[in-house]
Amino acid sequence: MSQTSSPEPANTDLTRLAAAELAELVHSRQVSAVEVTQAHLDRIAEVDPAVHAFLHTDAENALATARQVDQDLAAGQAPASPLAGVPVAVKDVLTTEGTPTTCGSRMLEGWLPPYDSTVVRRLRAAGLVILGKTNMDEFAMGSSTENSAFGPTRNPWDLDRIPGGSGGGSSAALAAFEAPLAIGTDTGGSIRQPGAVTGTVGVKPTYGGVSRYGLVAFSSSLDQAGPCARTVLDAALLHEVIGGHDPLDSTSIDQPVPPVVAAVREGATGDLRGVRVGVVTQLSGEGYQPGVLRSFHAAVDTLRELGAEVVEVSCPSFQYALSAYYLIAPSECSSNLARFDAMRYGLRVGDDGNRSAEEVMSLTREAGFGPEVKRRIMLGTYALSSGYYDAYYGSAQKVRTLIKRDFDAAFENVDVLVSPTTPTTAFRLGERVNDPMAMYLADLCTIPANLAGNAALSVPSGLSDEDGLPVGLQVMAPVMQDHRMYRVAAAYEVARNAAEGGPQIQRVPQADWSAHNRAQSEVAV
């Protein structure tokens, strides 16, 4: 059952199990879905005051769903999916009918969406138990969750450090064993970078592989929802639940979900013979933390030992990726966030009966958006202005085409590309809040895949020797070839577990989190 041979002391604790293991226990009716759900709700109550992974939890609905799963199983029905009865946390950027969806912003505080996002609808249909909504940088803009209007999330490996962002809440919930599965969204690395710095698995599927309907848009051409988990298999199982064509999303690809679970099972044999792995020259070297690079090189060695053929690949246009990203994403965001105008839903400020609609819009946007969101709206507004469009947005789109060509050329010779997921391990809270450029560099390695639309994931690759913090290995695959990266990641995961005598995530320090109360920790920011 367990992927490790050495019994973990906490294995009796349901929250320590992988989703696949929980599903097996529930489906064989050894443990009820209600017990599993309650265990996670208890865990959240215990540690979340310190971690702050969740913005809302919904115990009542979660238990009701679990009860239904148990009843259906008791009645002899087959599970609705391989993950039926397993709890999941959802990033607060995906709409959930009747429960708050804030996007980490004051602007949407108190808004109750009248509809479910497609991802959430599929989770429900598959019998997953939604525990609640996870914290994030406001409107998914940031790399640390410090831009959340409701306070930062903390990294379970070190509560004084950031859990990555924007989806830090989802990854921290996994690393703190508050949930076995989570949904994230990735515009420039918001699934993979938090995955890397929390020692969890984060997958950005091919753009169009998972519906964006109900995903509150930051940058429409880059946003992609995907699975977060503690194991590669769990991520693949979740991927198959949420993936697939959706007629409500015109950019969703009308093809079957790539066979990612099968690929994981294939990879788990530990045989990567015949697989060609490309190391991207431009995504390592100067500016990278030495411990991260050492971890990365060790990972590449492991892949070679598993039989993969490793070659160096040059993607020269990647050096422009960050600049192009910071023109395209703000441009689209300036338009996407225009709808938050106090007229129909969400925050309304200054409506005293005398002010004009225009003044109320202005006051509301001034009060409702945080500084990073405003910065990007202004950047984007400027980049799209007549007279500047060609120089900024237009040029950025050309860079995007060049990056796609780099990927296409690379994938003619290799099956997957690898790089570190992030240049550094988790930084300290507050360290980069006043230095946007330093913050933006956290997404240096992840952004190219968003710009090109291909698939990429981050899988834990050990701890950095200098600070003992998690490092992630990024594996990238061509469009709709997501299974390739899953196979490589699964093989790598098996090799690491074998070498280390068990999953790295089980070694998250067991601080007395309940003692680390929020009031104290917020002083540190």
Binding site: L248, T251, E332, A338, R339, D341, A357, L384
Partner: protein, 504 residues
């Protein structure tokens, strides 16, 4: 200088066209009559309880995404083909960004520099038969906005209102915007050309069955761009864009008004301000819309939530092959079938009677009779009543019945008019009017013979002439009989009876 002056100075129209050349640009917005909206499955219908035909997509709720209505694309292509446009092999939507409360996303999803149809033309026939070819720059797809209702204040516009109500039922309704190239060289006829163009376009869209084309309900809306340049000048002058032009007549009036207003401004050494102007139906004048402190920058960029529209050539050709008979093709056919001269056809068109005559013919009447009734007697009646011909309370089917009664000899032309008058007066169907008014031709020979004998006896000298072979004299007796029978006799039959009495 112009807008702020309390009384707007106008130049005499004849002087305007002596000194200036007008340039027109017409933008027509057509609401498509698809079942559903442009980007969602909500019902597309006029009116309804406010905010009942809405969903997360057309309300622009966070997270919602648009999906293009394939039927709207089909309509757009058919319109493009009928306007002789090239249909793009690949085109996209863009976002037009600006803040306004009736626009749920604060951007309008609209085609911009990549429209679905470009470079077409429409031949427009003026009242005297002159044909003007109006070049079409483009036809593109977009979505309509919601509606604002400004409560309080005097103007019903946002300025000065106490509060505003928003109805998003119209938000997301599919629109096609059809833009002409600059229309030059029409001189004094510019206002007429503008009206004729919108009329021709309306007829075309109606024939295509793609829109209700109701200007009064806003399903056909025209913005008129007008500028003047001095006679002989090469460069266009500054234009104004007049909105709220809600009838065909208003199109003509608005253009004419702007010409006279701009001419006065220019003649006084002023400059025409590039601005949006609002047409007032009651006064026939235009007034300055919102003053723009800054030029509007819509920050267009390609809509990332939609994929490009790439109609296959096979589909386009299929749509071309299945276009219905277009208005001008129909007129050509009608002219041949009904054997009309050019002036006759023009009169028919100018009377707005083509459809009515066609329907009357379809109901069994002969084309000549049907045309004669609608173009002369009924047009007079419509003019007298001050209504459109089509709004007269008589249907083509009713008229066809009257014509049939004449053809079978039951009515004379004079009686037929009385029957029509009766129908117009609301007295019922033609047969009921005939019955009620007792208008049937007297076809009973014995009754007629009595009247003939009476008339012959009354005028023995004429009777004698007839008997002596002066057949032409019979007319007087026939007239007397007709008078005696109050016109309800068939004059031809009366004549036969007179002659048989006098020769038999």
């Amino acid at each position: 200088m112009s807008a702020s002056v309390a009384v707007t100075e106008l130049m005499d129209y004849d002087e305007v066209v002596q000194r200036f050349d007008p340039v027109l640009g017409l933008e027509v917005h057509v609401e498509l009559s698809t079942n559903t909206k442009m980007f969602c499955g909500c019902e597309n219908a006029f009116g309804g309880e406010p905010n009942t035909k809405v969903c997360p997509v057309c309300l622009g709720l966070p997270g919602s995404l648009p999906v293009v209505n394939g039927k709207a694309v089909e309509s757009a292509i058919r319109i493009g083909l009928a306007l002789n446009c090239d249909i793009a092999e690949w085109c996209r939507f863009a976002r037009k960004n600006y803040f306004y409360p009736d626009m749920p996303k604060n951007f309008q999803t609209s085609q911009y520099d990549e429209p679905i149809a470009v470079n077409g033309w429409l031949d427009v026939v003026l009242d005297d038969g002159e044909v003007v070819r109006v070049e079409i720059e483009r036809a593109h797809m977009e979505e309509d906005t919601g509606k604002s209702l400004h409560v309080g204040g005097s103007t019903g516009r946002i300025h000065g209102a106490e509060h505003s109500l928003l109805d998003y039922n119209r938000a997301g309704v599919p629109l096609i915007e059809i833009v002409t190239k600059p229309i030059v060289g029409t001189g004094a006829r510019a206002p007429e050309v503008a009206r004729a163009y919108v009329t021709a376009l309306r007829d075309l869209l109606r024939a295509l069955g793609v829109s209700d084309v109701r200007m009064d309900q806003g399903s056909l809306r025209c913005d008129a761009n007008v500028s003047l340049m001095a006679k002989g000048a090469a460069e266009f002058g500054t234009r104004t864009e007049t909105k709220n032009v809600n009838s065909l007549r208003s199109v003509e009036r608005a253009v004419r008004y702007e010409m006279t207003r701009q001419a006065a401004v220019l003649a006084n050494g002023g400059r025409v301000v590039q601005e949006t102007r609002h047409f007032d139906e009651s006064t026939g004048s235009t007034s300055s819309g919102r003053t723009k402190e800054t030029a509007e920058d819509y920050r267009y960029f390609p809509e990332p939530d939609l994929v490009p529209v790439a109609p296959s050539r096979e589909w386009v050709e299929e749509l071309r092959a299945t276009l219905p008979e277009l208005p001008w093709e129909r007129l050509k056919r009608i002219q041949t079938e009904w054997q009309l001269t050019d002036p006759e056809l023009r009169d028919l068109v100018n009377a707005g009677a083509v459809e009515l005559v066609a329907e009357t013919v379809a109901a069994g009447a002969g084309p000549a009779e049907a045309r004669s009734w609608w173009v002369s007697y009924l047009t007079q009646q419509a003019n007298t009543r001050g209504v459109d011909l089509a709004d007269l309370p008589i249907t083509p089917v009713q008229l066809a019945r009257v014509i049939a009664l004449v053809a079978e000899g039951s009515l004379t032309n004079k009686l037929a008019r009385e029957v029509v008058d009766g129908v117009l007066a609301g007295e019922g169907e033609p047969d009921q009017v005939v019955e009620a008014r007792g208008l049937k031709v007297v076809s009973d020979d014995s009754a007629l013979l009595a009247a003939v004998d009476e008339a012959l006896a009354a005028q023995p000298d004429i009777a004698e002439k007839i008997r002596s072979g002066k057949v032409a004299a019979a007319g007087a007796i026939v007239g007397a009989v007709m008078k005696a029978t109050k016109g309800q006799a068939d004059a031809k039959r009366v004549r036969e009876l007179v002659l048989s009495r006098c020769t038999g």
